[in-house]
Subunit: 173 residues, 2 copies
DNA sequence: CGCTGCCGTTCCGTAAACGGAACAGTCGGG
DNA sequence: CCCGACTGTTCCGTTTACGGAACGGCAGCG
């Protein structure tokens, strides 16, 4: 648990929104010294302080806390996926994961039940994934989709780790 | 944000484990007075204190923080987006949302800072979204992507609510 | 050059969160 | 009973996070 990490995230979120330290401090009702020290990690903020700041940024407290994984994490040889959310609608159940694929030989996953589809959005790196006999390739910003009732593979192209979101759709039986 | 709620959760977790306040305080390396005050909600704990206690209980910080639903981003009339995760890599910060768009007239969002891109993966329904003057359309399973430094719109096509994931990418400046 | 306005950091007195010790209450054993 | 070991709370001196003010730096403007 590193206060410096929390500080960096707060600063990143603030700068994304294009607001200055001074104004954020004023909006959140905390001192500029407090916010400055918080962003630098030189202070050990009170829950109240952190709450005031994150609320003003419009993010939950969890967004700045160094929590590695909220949900269960699945580790394979190349792929690490953490479950972010499960939700259902009238005709399917969805599982949304954040996925990371390490550079190297890649990984093979067994077939899912019939009708299951996977949707992958690539954030960083280049991903080659899909049915084992006909994988697809997507660069950062790209999107892949396949029916995963056959064995399928994931691999990073090049030396960069791939970051992506993975959605599994299980049709209601 | 209620410190009393945090206190009750800590006490509940401690009692589930059948350990006394005294021993938890000793294991966590905090004073008994500190833990007592924390559980009663009469103190405003430091991040360090709360971390020491929750770590000893074997739960993530998020387990005791009063966040029931991650902050609904009140995009407004038609769109509801809840922040699932924030993460950063070497050249950008990402915010991942689950988004729902209600059927009806849709909604306009103001421009983001330059360089920000949005990636949407549609799970259910049909979504029309993108730059306000040139929106794109995607059915379930589809994917949209645009540079969002201009005003942009979201609308559900047809009577079905749209479920989607939304990724905002903020380049490091 | 001033002057103004905003930026983020540092200084500093005050308020409060901190840990240790003292406290009353409760249980079980000799 | 009385004692020891334990519970959780309260007291208190020390530490430290707090906000306001003062500071230097950097634009834009007359």
């Amino acid at each position: 648990m590193d206060p410096a990490v929390v500080g960096r995230r707060v600063r990143a979120l603030r700068e994304e929104r294009g607001i200055s330290l001074s104004t954020l401090a004023r909006l959140a009702g905390v001192g500029k010294a407090t916010l400055s020290g918080l962003e630098h990690g030189t202070r050990n903020p009170t829950l109240e302080t952190l709450w005031a700041v994150t609320a003003q940024l419009g993010v939950p407290l969890t967004a700045v806390l160094a929590e590695p994984a909220a949900g269960p994490t699945v580790h394979g040889t190349a792929v690490t996926a953490t479950l972010l959310e499960v939700f259902t609608d009238t005709d399917a159940t969805y599982e949304l994961y954040r996925m990371r694929v390490a550079p190297g030989p890649g990984q093979l996953s067994p077939a899912h039940p019939p009708g299951v589809t996977e949707h992958v959005t690539v954030f960083a790196g280049v991903l080659r994934a899909g049915p084992a006999d006909a994988p697809l390739t997507a660069p950062a910003g790209g999107h892949l989709r396949w029916v995963s009732d056959v064995p399928h593979s994931y691999a990073a192209v090049g030396d960069e780790e791939v970051a992506a979101s993975l959605l599994l759709r299980y049709p209601r039986r």
